[in-house]
Structures are given as structure tokens and as C-alpha cells.
Assembly symmetry: C2
Homo-oligomer: 302 residues x 2
């Protein structure tokens, strides 16, 4: 462990509850995706392969736990989590394509376009994106007024204001804007956008007040920065079943500031993230325990 | 004119009203898309180039006219039309990519990926798709319950049930399923899906009854088939500023049935389309006059 891990008083680690949510997400996604029975349906198969071959389900787990922490026990949280995971899956398929990162491996397996071809990969990404919106539009038990807000928030995170802009900057702007500020903004767009959307969606679905909504948003921003820094730090040795060295030639914070400064910054972001959560949730709530486990894993993997 | 054009009694052609709607759609799209002032924003520029370089705006014009014909004079119809046009634009960008049709020209200009690169083209398509959903989610003056229905309908047409499946079949299944039935199903998915969605959206936004909704849906199916047949017939000589011969090697109805049989079938579909419209709208209504003009243009271009 190379950075100061935030201390959370009274945290008792019980991994059972997060594993249960992760499995619920997996089961629900399997039910929502096109059935696996059609040999000819290569697009459906690519969608299933992309979303049902592992993955930590961090975004949906955080969404479900944040919603529950806000007193919402509706099964709609699970479907909202699945919608966020679909958008995440679509963005990974697209990021890996030859014209983007040209990645060979993802989660230890050949990337989707290497398994199914570029055309099928691209269609699978589009289908995952549109399915995410279709799912949120028809979630039972959520008022229509909240559903349109949820859709607008998810669309914002996926489009020009979020993932699209982040990916573009990651590919193009880094060559020109070699500053820590620019790298941080790209991180925020690329990784933070979907974390923020997930937390905003938990808040909307749970009718959270302005303070809780704002704190969750700040938590998500800090968490997104931390994750992207962690990615930058681990990129050189490719320890996650992804291609190593994907970031070479790009301006990462590691290149700008050096490894030690980035480790320190990562610790600061995690502390910030934990601080924002602490403003809403007590230490005995699941989301804080889960975040503590996540942070511990992040620290261990460095 | 090589096919029997349906006769519409009492139709007086006044092109002014369709030109006005087409211009309104263009102006509204220009306002909705990312501003053109940022040199660095290549994704935004690709979105604007894709949607503001001509285009007949058939889908949004039909949507606005169908809505008005159903007694709806809300400006929301224009925004719904823009959302449909964004999805259409996204599908054209993706269809033209090297891993899909590998097209060089669209509307007489180099295709988007040739102007901006594959990565920017793909991101622009994703941004157009997500912007379409964001737009519908926040259209003022439409009840939230209708907005979620509109989003679900648009997502259905864009995803695995519509454009995605149609494009996949167009690329892959034709090699195996060399039947007129298979070619017709592909046409319906590829071209009909968005026409159908546009008409369903006009019906939802205008609170149309079951009969009008069903008739509009059948009108859209027949119109979609007619357009795809027209595309198949004109493909050989590339008369629309698109690449000629894109369909070579694929099973089109022209290859299966011959040119004359397809012309005849096109006439039948146009007659069907006009018949379904006639069940809802009187001959003096704009949508029937517009469809008559469209059909006349289709016939002239063969």
C-alpha cells in the first residue's frame, strides 16, 4: 500500500452484501440482454459477451448502495444500475476499436471486435446504448417525470458532455494540451462522467434533497479521478487483463508529475471521496463499507 | 415514370409548405447541435457537417405533417422530428464506415469518416444518438408519460429491434438467406424502422386513437419498403451523390426478381402507403400532398 488510505471509523467488512448485489446485477443483465439461443444473432452474442464476461460492476453497485442508503429499497435501482452498466459496456467496446485504442485484450479475453469483427462490435455498442435508454424509459415503479430526468442524465454522461468528449480528448487533445489541468479534465470526462451519472440517478430515483445530491456528485467526481489515476499508474504493467502500455505517447498525469506525486494525489482523491460520502451516510452504511473495500483493493493492486 | 403512381383525387401541389418545414427543421437542428465556433471541437463539427449538409428531411417532415394532420400544432413536433433526424444521421455515419459499407461519398461530399477520421465519425454518431434521447427527454409542452413512450419507441427503432438488426442482416445474412422474404424483412428493419418510429411518435405526441396509430404504422411500413426498393433500383448508377454499386454482391430484390418486377412492386407499396394515409386524412391535408410530391419525385428519378 503506497498511498494514505482514508480511515473510516467503525467499518466492519462484510463482502457478502456486495457480492450479492454484483450477482443480482449479472443475473438481471443476462435477463435483459438478447437471448443466447440464436446462433445467427452475432450482435446479441457480442452484447452478452461484452457484459457477461466478468467486470466488477462498480457503477451499478454504487448506484444500488447509494439509493438504499437514501432509504430507497425499490427494485428499480437494479435496472438503473443495469442501464449504467450497458452504457459502460458500450463505451469499452468503442474504446477498444482499432480506430480508437486498438486494444487486443479486455478482462483477459480478446476484445469484442477481435472476437466478432469490427462491424458487429460497433452494432453491439449502439444496441447496448439504445437498450439502456429503452430500459430506463420503461422501468416500472418510477414516476414518468423521474424517468425522463434519469434518461436526460444518462444521455448527458454518454454524449458530447461526457464519455464522447473524454474519449476525443484522450485521443487528440493530449498532444496539444500538456498540462496537469488538461489531463485532469479529460479524466473527469472519461471516467467521472458515468460515476457522476450513476450517483445523480441514485439521487433522482430516491428523491434525494439538494445537499445529498450535491455530495454524491462530488463523491463521484473524486472517485472518477482516483480510478483514472489508478489506471494511469497500473498501465505500464497491464495487470488487469488489458493491453499494457495503451497510454504510451499520451499525456497522463504519471508522465507529467511522476509516479510518486500521482500516488499521493490518488490518496487525496480517495480521502475527498470518502469525505463527501461521510457527509450523507453514517459509517455503518453499506456504501461506505463497499467504498472502503474498493479503496483497499485499489491500494493493493498498485 | 415506370410504375403506376397512385392517384389522389383533389390534390393541389403547393411545395411552399414542405419547403418551410424543411427549413424549420434545418434551423432547429443548427440550434440544437454543438456550436460551430470551436475549431478544436472536431466531433461537434462532424455532427454539424453530417446533419446540416443537405438531406431531404423526409422523416421529420412526415412526422410534423402527420402530427398537424392529427390536430396537433405544438412546436414539440419539430423537436421530435429533429430527434428522428439525429438518429437517421447517426445511422448514415455508421453505415458509411469502412467496416460497414466503406462508402466514399454521401450527398456528393466525402463521407464523414473521410473528412474527420474514423474515430471522430464514430464519436459523432454516438453523440447524435445520445443527443436525440436527451432532446426527447426534455421537450417542453409534452407530458412526461408521453416523453418516456416517445423515447422507448425511438430506442426500439434504433437498436436491436430496428436499425442495428437491419444493418447486420444487410451485411451478413444476405449471403445465406437468398429469398425475397428475407430481403423484404431486411428492408423493413433497415429503412422502415425509423419511418415507423417517426409515425408512432407523431401518434403518441398527438394522442391519436388506436385506428390512426395503426394506419400510420402501416403507411410507414409500406413507405419504408418503397424507399428501399427505390434505393435498390437506383443503386447501379449512383445518381444521388452516393457511391454506386454499394449493393453489389448482396441479395437485393433487384437481383432476385429483376428490375421490372421490383418497379411493379414499388408501385404496389406506394399505393398501399397512400391507401393507409387515406384512411385517416382527407385529400386536402398537407401530409397527403407531401407524400404525393415524394412519390412523383421517386418516380422521376428512376
Amino acid at each position: 500500500m503506497d498511498f494514505p488510505l482514508p480511515r473510516i471509523e467503525g467499518v466492519v467488512h462484510d463482502p457478502g452484501e456486495y457480492i450479492e448485489i454484483r450477482e443480482l446485477i449479472g443475473t438481471r443483465l443476462a435477463a435483459l440482454l438478447p437471448p443466447a439461443d440464436s446462433e445467427q444473432d452475432r450482435v446479441g452474442l457480442a452484447m452478452r459477451t461484452s457484459l457477461l464476461s466478468g467486470g466488477k460492476r462498480i457503477r451499478p453497485t454504487l448506484l444500488v448502495l447509494a439509493g438504499r442508503g437514501l432509504g430507497n429499497n425499490s427494485p428499480a435501482l437494479l435496472d438503473l444500475g443495469c442501464a449504467v452498466e450497458m452504457v459502460h459496456g458500450a463505451s469499452l467496446i468503442l474504446d477498444d476499436l482499432p480506430c480508437m485504442d486498438d486494444a487486443l485484450l479486455r478482462r483477459g479475453q480478446p476484445t469484442i471486435h477481435r472476437q466478432f469483427g469490427e462491424d458487429v462490435a460497433m452494432l453491439a455498442a449502439v444496441a447496448l446504448l439504445t437498450d439502456a435508454f429503452r430500459l430506463v424509459a420503461s422501468i416500472p415503479g418510477v414516476p414518468a417525470e423521474a424517468r425522463v430526468q434519469l434518461i436526460a442524465r444518462l444521455a448527458e454522461a454518454s454524449g458530447m458532455q461526457g464519455l464522447v468528449k473524454g474519449q476525443y480528448r484522450d485521443l487528440h487533445d493530449n498532444a496539444h494540451l500538456c498540462s496537469a489541468h488538461a489531463a485532469l479534465t479529460t479524466n473527469e470526462l472519461k471516467t467521472g462522467a458515468l460515476f457522476e451519472a450513476a450517483m445523480a440517478m441514485a439521487a433522482i430515483a430516491s428523491e434525494a434533497g439538494a445537499f445529498a445530491t450535491a455530495s454524491l456528485s462530488r463523491f463521484a467526481q473524486a472517485l472518477g479521478q482516483a480510478f483514472q489515476l489508478h489506471d494511469d499508474l497500473t498501465d505500464d504493467h497491464g495487470g488487469y487483463g488489458k493491453d499494457a502500455g495503451q497510454d504510451r505517447g499520451r499525456t497522463t498525469l504519471v508522465a507529467l508529475l511522476g509516479t510518486e506525486a500521482v500516488r499521493c494525489r490518488l490518496g487525496v482523491h480517495l480521502e475527498e471521496a470518502e469525505g463527501h460520502l461521510a457527509q450523507i451516510f453514517g459509517p455503518d452504511q453499506s456504501i461506505r463499507r463497499y467504498v472502503h473495500v474498493l479503496f483497499t483493493q485499489l491500494a493493493r493492486n498498485l
